[in-house]
């Protein structure tokens, strides 16, 4: 008999299981069950017919193979899993690898890409997938089900020549390689990797095998900020030398559970890193993306949400046409472009189309240029399957103007006159700009407020990591401070995006906010910005 599942994970993605659990517990408080006249002591339940538990799904293979990531073979200084609050709804089952494999195999059996349905998710904390003894077998089974790109995040410790060649048999594959440093001594210190050379040496192997990859770096300011920035430059050079598809720089943060003490000044480290990356971009052909990208945009871009190019992937149609840093897209195939999400959407459609050419009108240093992209002229590290925008890299996803239309619909449905909109430090400037330029709202009062993340604490300020209790605490304080009581509160849905059931990271439903504060709360559906 296999282990019990962790109900915390189910509460995020499939709260109907938690519903059944609570209903049964509630009933068993007042009745005993019996069989053939004898009381049956029940201590659990199981799902009867798994076909009943299929849910709509994009059927990305990662939905299955991430269950292989229950352990890790590194011990990174900055591992975010160590900073998770105890009440976060991400359980980590401890069970034998064989049992994990059995679950993955069943998930593959119920993985239906054509019907776009699969078994409900139940993921806990995710560590390193590639060390699982059945990992490659799982990938092979998945490849039998879907031609989609296998997008694998790995610390690279297992990327020996043999593993790389076996991954190459499963193409299309794209790796997010958490290299962090191309210096063996620094990688050893940062990740406590005893054999750092394996990951470092994997870059030329991946290139040789034709597997595109992103090099990921957490610029942790160790031992000093200057040392980190120097190493960042060296690692970017190494990635460029081996034709990395792009470099992703994940700006570092930590929760109060990770450290009670201040480990570094976030603004100092983040602004210095972004400034350094901008300098590196001037002399590096490999695209370098800083995440969260809105931090860079807020620091450097007076006008937000523009379809400005920060780089083109080497050997991509965009690079072939001469697109590069600073170009702003004005038109795509004759269609006028107003915002970054619009540009990304059109490029995404073109990328998936049979078109052989795309025409772009761009603004470069005050001049307007007409560029023609040959969509059939590309080579490694660009690939048709794993790229999304013909090789154009933007400063993040941007804010969709359709969100404002939806916001207006919500406000109208309540006939609200005073709306409290809860945003984040990162999104607020862009949201304010879009709101000021919109003609939808007239003289309606929308009070945009930013709240602190007390749940994670530390220097975590991403809006997507806010939880129900953060909202309740903030709104209660707000109501004490302000004489005018809002008649509607609107919250972006992104902190509740893990499942489709409006749950935060602790498993609480957003409806609890309005029950506590006595004002209606609506979620404004929007994508997570950290992608």
């Amino acid at each position: 008999m296999n282990s019990f599942q962790d109900i915390k994970n189910a509460s995020l993605y499939e709260p109907r299981i938690q519903f059944i659990k609570k209903q049964l517990e509630s009933l068993l408080a007042v009745v005993d069950l019996e069989k053939e006249g004898r009381i049956v002591e029940v201590d659990g339940f199981r799902l009867k017919n798994l076909k009943d538990w299929l849910v709509p799904s994009s059927c990305d293979p990662i939905e299955v193979f991430e269950y292989a990531g229950s352990h890790c073979d590194c011990d990174c200084l900055f591992c975010y899993n160590r900073g998770n609050p105890p009440s976060v709804a991400l359980g980590n089952l401890r069970r034998p690898p064989r049992e994990e494999f059995e679950e993955m195999r069943t998930r593959i059996d119920y993985f239906f890409p054509k019907a776009k349905s699969s078994l409900f998710s139940s993921l806990g904390e995710i560590y390193e997938v590639s060390i699982h003894p059945h990992f490659l077998e799982v990938l092979r089974l998945l490849r039998g089900k879907t031609p989609k790109v296998l997008r694998i995040t790995t610390n690279g410790k297992t990327l020996t020549p043999d593993v790389v060649s076996r991954l190459a048999e499963l193409k299309p594959v794209y790796l997010y390689l958490s290299l962090n440093s191309a210096s063996p001594s620094r990688r050893r210190k940062l990740m406590r990797d005893r054999d750092p050379q394996i990951a470092i040496d994997s870059l030329p192997l991946l290139k040789e095998a034709g597997i595109p990859y992103a090099v990921l770096i957490v610029p942790w300011p160790m031992d000093s900020l200057g040392e980190m920035l120097d190493d960042l430059g060296a690692t970017v050079s190494y990635a460029e030398e081996h034709d990395a598809h792009l470099v992703g720089v994940n700006l570092p943060g930590y929760s109060k559970y990770f450290s009670q003490e201040k480990l570094f000044d976030l603004d100092e480290v983040w602004s210095a890193t972004v400034s350094h990356v901008r300098n590196l971009r001037e002399k590096t052909a490999c695209p370098i993306v800083v995440m969260p990208s809105m931090y860079e945009e807020n620091l450097y871009e007076g006008r937000k949400n523009l379809p400005k190019v920060i780089a083109a992937v080497k050997n991509s149609p965009a690079a072939g046409a001469g697109l590069g840093m600073g170009d702003q897209i004005l038109e795509i195939n004759g269609i006028s472009i107003a915002s970054r999400p619009q540009a990304r959407d059109l490029l995404f459609i073109l990328q998936r189309s049979e078109n052989r050419e795309a025409r772009l009108r761009v603004e470069r240093e005050g001049r307007t240029l007409q560029l023609s992209l040959n969509l059939e002229d590309f080579s490694y590290p660009y690939s048709r399957e794993s790229d999304n925008h013909l090789g154009i890299i933007f400063m993040g996803t941007g804010l969709r103007l359709s969100y404002l239309e939806r916001l207006k619909e919500i406000i109208d449905s309540y006939k609200a006159k005073h709306v409290l909109f809860l945003s984040s430090i990162l999104v607020k400037p862009t949201f304010e700009q879009c709101l000021a330029e919109s003609h939808l709202f007239g003289d309606l009062r929308i009070d945009i407020q930013v709240l602190r993340n007390n749940f994670f604490g530390g220097n975590v300020f991403m809006g997507d990591l806010l939880v129900v209790q953060d909202f309740i605490d903030f709104i209660k304080e707000y109501l004490e401070r302000n004489r005018v009581r809002p008649d509607l509160i609107v919250i972006p849905s992104s902190p509740f995006n893990l499942g489709q059931w409006g749950r935060d990271l602790t498993g609480r439903v957003y409806l609890e906010i309005e029950r506590e504060v006595g004002i209606p709360v609506e979620l404004l559906e929007c994508a997570s910005i950290y992608d």
């Binding site: 109900i7 189910a10 517990e25 509630s26 068993l28 408080a29 439903v509 409806l511």
Partner: protein, 81 residues
């Protein structure tokens, strides 16, 4: 031999917290709270937020469903889809 599905099992625990001392009343409250965390009831096309209940045998007394709520009151009756 045909391979079997992995069994998704979940543990039951004795119910601990109770809002009402009457176990049968508490059972009804808990079941309502539970269902209101996964659905929003409708009256016609109109969304209705529920925060209490009465027993059919005693329409004079009302019971709260949620423990900490402020009493959503009348305004929620006016929410439309």
């Amino acid at each position: 031999m045909a391979k079997k599905d992995y069994v998704f099992r979940y543990k039951l625990e004795p119910k601990k917290e109770a809002v009402y001392p009457d176990p049968l009343l508490e059972m009804i409250r808990a079941q309502l709270e539970n269902i209101l965390n996964i659905v929003i009831p409708l009256e016609g096309q109109r969304e209705v937020r529920i925060d209490g209940f009465k027993l059919l045998r005693d329409r004079e007394r009302a019971y709260k469903i949620f423990t900490n709520e402020q009493g959503l009151g009348d305004f929620l009756q006016e929410c439309y889809l």
